[in-house]
Symmetry: C2
Subunit: 453 residues, 2 copies
């Protein structure tokens, strides 16, 4: 019952598949949860996975298909005929999953699959859902839900639920609507079970409902459900008509994906990769940011080349180049990631940008002062012979930390204002920019102190 994926299990399965022993393969995977089958399939080749798919019943096969990662699924759907996709997968799915799958297909295949769907109402639902932006509430909602008219009695309501509930996996709330299908409130199953059968729904439901509109971005949906601890949220159109509902399991996936995206951005990885991906996928995900880093390094070399006479006069300045660059980079990443995280968490923030910058300025001044003093003390002993160097390193470290902090805060805020993902400003981008800025400041300040003393 508690499945654990082991290398032995995968090996055994691969052997049985290569022997085309359908009976024993079935025996191994029978009774496994679709999520476990999906996890197992990720360890198999495309052909091996296909072999298993053909052994599964439609219900299980469609559940497994939803659980495997998108890029594997796309490859897999490519090798299957449209009528198989429609009959073996789509017809068993709830509308949100079905729309996701259809949306992943090529334009022409989409049309063919839609034509092959037997249930015209389901095909209509899918077409409706495909019209919404993929990352909006409309794009992630399911159309299947249990709704009842506010004028019904509990008894009539229970009857209606039993009719509607066949196509819904799990009921968390019953939605109450008026004659125009406008959402009026929600009713928990608990309340319904405990109520007398002749009571009217209008006297039972809770009208303090949290809902989202179809256009709401998915992050807003996630933040709302998280804030109000909701298991499902109804989706309404602009005049309040009930259009669908979003359940927490989809939102958990969104929260995880958003967090992973920001994490990968700050670590300089492009695209959605996992350690189990192929070598070339992982390499491709890493090269773009490294290339920017290389350009930054070349620019840095040019900056130093331009100030070569300073280094010639005070060669020991080269010793502290890595220190200045590293501090600039670290400070910048810290500042930017605090901003990005506060934007991502969706925490309502009534601090103005100027207030934020002012605060960051205060933090920067304290930090800069602390580290400038520390490095001054170090150099006071280590570089006794050159007070010019001691002063140049300390003063430029101070300036560098202040600038790196302000840039790190300002750039993601600006990107956000411009509706560009602020997470772009974290990681290698801000590090590289601050590296160069830091070098420039260091060499200019060094030059000033050379001429001062």
């Amino acid at each position: 019952m508690q499945f654990e994926l082991t290398r032995e299990f995968v090996e055994k399965l691969k052997d049985l598949i290569s022997l085309e022993n359908a009976e024993e393969v079935k025996g191994l995977i029978d009774g496994l949860h679709p999520a476990d089958i999906a996890e197992t399939m990720e360890e198999l080749s495309l052909e091996e996975a296909k072999y298993i798919y053909l052994l599964l019943d439609g219900e299980t096969a469609s559940d497994v298909l939803i659980e495997i990662p998108e890029h594997d699924r796309k490859k897999f759907l490519k090798i299957l005929p449209p009528e198989f996709i429609a009959r073996q997968f789509i017809e068993y799915m709830e509308s949100d999953d079905a729309a996701d799958i259809v949306g992943e297909l090529d334009e022409e295949v989409q049309q063919e699959v839609l034509k092959e769907i037997g249930d015209i109402e389901q095909a209509g639902d899918i077409v409706d859902l495909l019209e919404y932006d993929e990352e909006s509430a409309g794009g992630i909602m399911a159309k299947e839900l249990v709704s009842v008219n506010e004028n019904l009695t509990v008894q009539a309501c229970l009857k209606q639920i039993s009719e509607q509930s066949e196509e819904v996996d799990e009921i968390y709330y019953v939605y109450v609507v008026d004659d125009a299908d406008i959402l009026k409130g929600i009713l928990s199953l608990k309340k319904l079970i405990l109520a007398k059968t002749n009571m009217k729904i209008s006297n039972l439901y809770n009208d303090d409902i949290k809902s989202v509109t179809t256009e709401a971005p998915q992050e807003e949906v996630a933040n709302k459900m998280e804030k109000y601890d909701l298991v499902a949220i109804p989706v309404v159109d602009s005049i309040g008509r009930l259009k669908g509902r979003i359940t927490i399991d989809d939102v958990v996936d969104i929260i995880r994906e958003e967090a992973e995206k920001d994490y990968q951005m700050v670590s300089g990885i492009t695209g959605d990769v996992e350690s189990s991906d192929k070598v070339w996928q992982l390499t491709r995900a890493r090269i773009p940011w490294l290339f920017i880093g290389l350009l930054g390094g070349i620019l840095g070399a040019l900056v130093i080349g331009n100030h070569n006479e300073t280094l010639t006069q005070l060669p020991k300045m080269a010793f502290f180049i890595p220190l200045i660059a590293a501090m600039a980079g670290n400070v910048g990443v810290q500042s930017s990631s605090i901003v990005v995280q506060s934007i991502a968490s969706g925490a309502k923030d009534i601090e103005s940008i100027s207030h934020k910058l002012l605060k960051e300025f205060a933090i920067a001044l304290i930090t800069a002062f602390v580290f400038a003093v520390l490095i001054y003390i170090f150099n006071y002993f280590y570089s006794r012979d050159s007070m010019q160097l001691t002063w140049a390193v300390a003063v430029s470290l101070f300036i560098v930390i202040v600038f790196a902090s302000l840039f790190g805060t300002l750039i993601p805020l600006l990107l956000n204002k411009l509706k560009i993902d602020p997470a772009l400003a974290t990681g290698p981008f801000i590090t590289t920019m601050n590296d160069i800025l830091g070098l420039f400041i260091y060499l200019v300040v060094g030059n000033i102190f050379l001429n001062l003393f």
Copy 2:
């Protein structure tokens, strides 16, 4: 109904509180969701927040208290007498929230609060829960749940549910147990509603249950609920007796927290801070990693100082110090964060460590080759006068990228084996280490090429 926090609202509230106009303050916050009141309170001073608390009824006050961030709550609980905490907050809470709050109090205050709780059974539940590790399933579960004996009929079951359900906020599943309280299966409310009243529970329930034991770490709970799309999961002891249940809203918080922790780690921030925190809190969170960066920079200066003769003979080598250091840092962060993320996602991974390292080695070789060639081409034109430099930079960049990748992969894997949070190895730590390593390799290789040509 859809509340939005504005600066005007907060200003108005502050004014009314300073005028001690209880009537109008109540009017403003009445009907707001506890999560909205909590959000508003974060903008108020401790005294202002206290004023509002005293106006709230116990039910709302306790819901608000759970919603505010832990460090604010701790400060707030410090200024309240134990009997107030027990009577106004704890008695209205479910056991998991109550145990969290009591767990946050100082040892002596804890005892006093427990004594003041009127319901001895609730006090017992809290004491039971406090014995579990805070980050285990036992530590996050609630004891309130609806369970029925497998031998009951649907009718008897419904009656028992209505008795038990008073103390449970929301019922998602009914747990079915045998006479020894061993968990046998679950029953969805949907099935219960649709079943005939004289049917036996033992014929209705689903025995394919996912559960966790009380000792399971919270990450395992989160991964399991996410993988199997569960809204609630039962918690059992080592012999399978039903002990409690964990609901998805608590797990969503855990997923968010874990992701934020890893994100802050990779960006070099210590402790749980938000952009809205005070200047000194934010500064304190940033200084530790910067200090390590500073030590790294100083070590870097010493490494360069030790190889000073190489720089004196080939001064242009200094130009490429930032490039080498930056590439080493970026590559290391990329490698480590891919490993950390795969560990955190809990994705079952049957690749062995040696296989991972081999794969990383392949990625590193390709990446290193690409960038070594690029920088060779650049220097072929830019540093025409010195083929020594051109070769030294390209060859050391190659070696540095390979080493940085392997370290970046190996260190988090090792930390994980040693049961230390592998996220510690991302961000400034790996950057700093790789900076120094990179410098060392660069100068040694430079020296070799100086003597070769």
